[in-house]
Amino acid sequence: MSGAPRTVAIVGPPNSGKTTLFNRLTGLRQKVANFPGVTVEQHLGTAQLSPDREVDLIDLPGVYSLRARSEDEQVTRNVLAGTMAGVPRPDAVLLVLDSTNLGRHLVLAAPILSLGLPTLVILNLADDLRARGGDVDTAALARQLGAPVALISAAKGEGVETVIQFLLSRVSAPAPLELPVLQDVPRCRQWATRVGRHAGYQPPAPPLWTRRLDRVFLHPVWGPLIFAVVVVAVFQTIFSGARPLMEGVETLITASGGWLGARMPAGVWKSLVIDGVWNGVGSVLVFLPQILLLFLFIGILEDSGYLARAALIADRTMARVGLQGKSFIPLLSAYACAVPAILATRTIENRRDRIATILIAPFMTCSARLPVYTLIIAAFLPERPVAGPFLGSRAAALLGLYVLGFLAAFGTARVLKSSVLKSGPSAFVLEMPSYRWPTWRGLGLRLLDRAKVFLRRAGTVILGVAVVVWALAHLPLHDGRAPRIEHSLVGVMGRAVEPLIRPLGFNWKIGVGLVSSLAAREVIVGTLGTIYGIEGEAESAGLQAALRHDLTPAGAVALLVFFAFAMQCTSTIAVVRRETGGWKWPAVQFGYMGALAWVGAFTANQVLSRVF
């Protein structure tokens, strides 16, 4: 094999700095997609090596071996073998290892070099190695491995030019002096030690700062306290901190909609663009700042190394319901939105734990429920103090709904984990990385990534649903004019579901709202506004009065309970399908949550209507 490579795979153990190197080489020229059929994300990018030379890079998931037990290992193995559909076989490999932990990381060199692909062995974190007094002779290591070796710092950019030179050169297959039997883990490890010794490897001194920080962060008293402060701060920021930003986005959407509306002739097209598309998509875009802020937090926590400590602290509590520490962050994120939460479950390697976490995440009170809760509570509950000046009755009701979602989530987890998703007692293993400063570059690229994924969804699924709901509300046409809402197709649908929801205390109008909120929960507010013939959410006092007229107090509670439990969110369904690799789990989840919502609302309505 000769000639300069065109497609190059970046391989390495978790946390060795693969993504940092990938980002440095590709900059903004990268994209994320899923490997076909599996839940592993593939990061593809293009590196401009010189004015007239480019190379395609694939950033593979972190693995310790190529034994192909986990999905990550399978993907890595298949990509390197060229058997992954839609991905060209790489003609060279960048093997990224952590130079501060070379003994253990060199083990991966054995299976990679035995593939026979031209390989550059990259010893990353050179800055950290030197700062802690470690050393390695790269020339000697290159002789042992029969492959070029580069000592670099991907975060600082030191030595990256060696990588570029390798990519520009005519590469050839490696010729290691000796390789161990790959199936035998102890032998492989001994081989790595031997190779390291021949290369004069001096392991660095222990990371003192990490130990000092852990003395605080894992302290029996301070540890949990700091943990609680971090959780509350994240919570507070995604709610209060995001509000001005969200209002800004909302103003922008309303203003641009108004501007556009003023320039369009009145009629069906204007109605479609403004009522359908602008308001429908806009109501979801409003959540973008909140979601980005959440990911900024998770990014900081993850890159700094604190996330592993948080998972460690949370593990015992999560174990009570059969989950584990790594489920904690996704569930916290789900308070903002289930979609990023479900993406965040990727850090859970145990598949059963991961599925259980995905299944319960939509029970956590996401921000899309807030507009609905606020409307109903404001309509039915007068504001009066409950606990002095600190807690009013409305805030207390809201808090109660949060608790309700939380209980449903943990109850469900318990049931699942003691039955269908039972896993071995101790599948929990967690590596504690050293603490590091997160880089702006890394955080920025991560946010950009998430924003793109979110906007793509808003531009496809949500746009589609918004148009469909609008169309159903305006069809069939009578003499070329839209029908009254009760005669439109959504009205017909509302009447069709009425027998089903009558025992819950809902009439057909609420039914229309429920049907439309299958797309996204907050859609019901806009739909009810349309049905009651009230223009805009600004006149929400009118909407409240209309609701009081149509719902009994027991029915209102039932509606709240329904929203607390039901899975009314196409984005979540879509992301669950993608992440679990099929329709089975989203179907189970939708059915289960729907049934729970119905039974819960039914009970609430039947019991309360006898009390009130």
Binding site: V185, R189, D214, L218, R316, S426, V429
Partner: protein, 87 residues
Amino acid sequence: MQVIVNSETGFPLIELAEGEHAVLERLDLPEEFARRLMELGFLPGHVITAARSAPGGDPRVFRVDGSEIALRRDTAARLRVRPPAAV
């Protein structure tokens, strides 16, 4: 996995006090799980040092092969170690 344990000197890893170290003898765990731990450095013959634990004592962090790994107590109870002096 291999190595016959000397029942007089061997004890479960979980009994190691913080700051002390011992030599791993074997992993009484299902094959898959044992392999995974071995890849992380829990290899027979390697020295393991007990480090901090989560508040509440479970899981515990162990230093092995240049890194720190947290294991739940029930896992650590199934790793047999012997005192370093008996090497």
